[in-house]
Symmetry: C2
């Protein structure tokens, strides 16, 4: 049995990482998704336990105290974090679990978890990213410029990731992500036991 | 443009590495193959410049003196080596070049070339490897046992490689090798320039 892997996906708003992630989980249904614990109120359309577990501030602070989180952040008064237990379970069983986190989360997780693989989703250019954000029609020009500044900061952090996927064509980007996961399954870090198995050692 | 890569393929006699390599080079014709320089006489069926350049002992020793080889070995009085120039040319142009070398060659190259990617081809088991060698019908029982000893030594060195491909089914093994190369093209080591390109820096 191969060793497990924690897979991190990040990318700026407008990179298409949510859509890519959804499609990758359909293509490789054996991969688990890490549900974040958060303290902000549920928004319309959100479902408890799908992408997030909605918990109280007190419960979250207990998790921090008891070292139950792999990483967490406080953003405008609300906590966001990754519970340790489900991640450790999947890795110990030799599986893969995907975490959708930002560049700060990736930095924290990478320094803690040896068996991690991080993928950054990039738009093909800054101009295309701006056009995508404008095209959504949901944000004011001011909000868009703020998002662009954050995006550029995040893209500069892409150098800290293991892989970069350029999302120019969605289907190609999905295929690229799947290719990275499949190649990683043959990585020596995950196959040290296989050498002994082939050699007939226990 | 991405940075180039030196790809190393190794595997014991009977692992199927020659067949896999041939198929991979057909599927990805943009990949170059590194032609070794050797001093042993040409064997029937071999073609100058195909897999080997047949050179004199004097010429080979001049290459050693002039630091023109990436790695070399002397085996029963004959030299085998990898000329540096073609490898450096391909890497500087952002391409990929495959070297078919043994576990000692891999160790030497890996310590010298930062931008290398090494893949070890494994048989599914020691028993299958023995059956394959017997099935060829070309070697005596004694030669087969000698090959098996070498193979087991080589397989124990597989832990020094970046990836392991198990050759149980040939088409699957070819696909696996292609997947490793394609994923590697998205590796951050090869894409540092792409971040600047997306960000519009020169």
């Amino acid at each position: 049995m191969s060793n497990g892997r924690l897979v991190i996906i990040s990318g700026p708003s407008g990179s298409g990482k949510d859509t890519i992630l959804k499609r990758v989980l359909e293509i490789l249904p054996e991969i688990k998704f890490s549900i974040s614990s958060i303290t902000r109120p549920m928004r319309p359309g959100e479902v408890e336990g799908e992408k997030y577990n909605f918990v109280s501030k007190e419960y979250f602070e207990d998790m921090i105290k008891n070292d139950m989180l792999l990483e967490y952040n406080n953003y405008v008064g609300n906590y966001y974090g990754t519970p340790k237990a489900p991640v450790e379970k999947v890795i110990n069983e030799g599986g893969e679990i995907i975490l959708e986190i930002d560049v700060n989360g990736q930095k924290n997780v990478k320094s803690q978890v040896e068996s991690s693989l991080s993928v950054f989703i990039m738009p093909p250019s800054v101009e295309v990213l701006r056009e995508r954000l404008i095209g959504r029609g949901t944000d004011s020009a001011e909000v868009i410029e703020k998002r662009m500044k954050t995006a550029i900061f995040e893209m500069e952090c892409a150098k800290n990731y293991d892989y970069i996927v350029i999302n120019d064509d969605l289907e190609k980007a999905v295929e690229d992500f799947v290719t990275i996961i499949k190649a990683d399954r043959m990585n020596i870090q995950r196959n040290n036991k296989i050498i002994d198995e082939v050699l007939g050692k226990c």
